[in-house]
């Protein structure tokens, strides 16, 4: 069955520092992968997605993610974090078949120190 693991529950970085949030997936075929962000009290916003092609994917707000099949990973990165990036980040994969819903990781909470 498809699954997503986000090993880090909570990460704190200093403003201006680089960021990497980890995501590992289990998927039967070539996966489609998503990163969503949830700001406090808000809904989920798509940051980026990987369907095929270039394994380095650019997203909004200066985020990027790299698909590594050999490591079953799709880590999210940002070279310089801003205080407004403090939020909950979710990695997701489709459930597969005809259902179309997403299976989410448990999320990583990002805190940003001034």
């Amino acid at each position: 069955a498809q699954s997503v693991t986000q090993p880090d529950i909570h990460i704190t970085v200093s403003e201006g520092a680089s960021l990497e949030l980890r995501c590992n997936y289990s998927y039967g075929a070539t996966p489609y992968l998503f990163w969503y962000v949830q700001s406090p009290g808000q809904g989920l916003q798509l940051l980026l997605k990987y369907f095929s092609g270039d394994t380095l994917v650019q997203g909004i707000k200066g985020f990027e993610a790299e698909f590594k099949r050999s490591q079953s990973s799709f880590n999210l990165r940002k070279p310089s974090v801003h205080w407004s990036d403090a939020a909950e980040y979710f990695c997701a994969v489709p459930s597969g078949g005809s259902q179309g819903n997403l299976i989410f990781g448990k999320g990583t909470k990002l805190s940003v120190k001034p």
């Binding site: 489609y32 998503f34 969503y36 949830q38 808000q42 809904g43 989920l44 916003q45 798509l46 997605k49 369907f51 909950e88 979710f90 489709p94 459930s95 005809s98 259902q99 179309g100 819903n101 997403l102 299976i103 989410f104 448990k106 999320g107 909470k109």
Partner: protein, 115 residues
């Protein structure tokens, strides 16, 4: 011009009551979803509708009944509310796609608190 909207944003009610949450999308999408986010932020699918037809019904108590009057709307009705129903409920929609792996667009969420 909100893409996916939900009402209400907050809902506080007593145990045993019946309540509804409404969802509308103006994106022309065929598929709509309800997800539940618990107190630990874990998101899990509850229902999925495609063109007004139910295609997923996860292990959700039958006190929860989705209703899709047309493909732009997917409402969630909850009977006999329980304390454990307290959560944030998200509506989402996605465009038609062969493999159903297209991006999902989420509403702002409805925070339900059952007292």
């Amino acid at each position: 011009d909100t893409a996916v909207s939900q009402t209400p944003k907050y809902l506080v009610t007593q145990m045993g009551n019946d309540k509804s949450i409404k969802c509308e999308q103006n994106l022309g999408h065929d598929t709509m979803y309800w997800y539940k986010q618990d107190s630990k932020k874990f998101l899990k699918i509850m229902f999925s509708y495609n063109n007004k037809e139910l295609i997923i019904n996860e292990t959700v108590p039958n006190r929860f009944s989705p209703k899709s009057p047309d493909k732009a709307h997917l409402n969630l009705h909850i009977n006999s509310l329980e304390l454990g129903d307290s959560a944030v409920y998200f509506c989402a929609s996605s465009p038609p796609a062969g493999g159903r792996t297209d991006t999902q667009y989420f509403g702002p969420g409805t925070r339900l608190t059952v007292l």
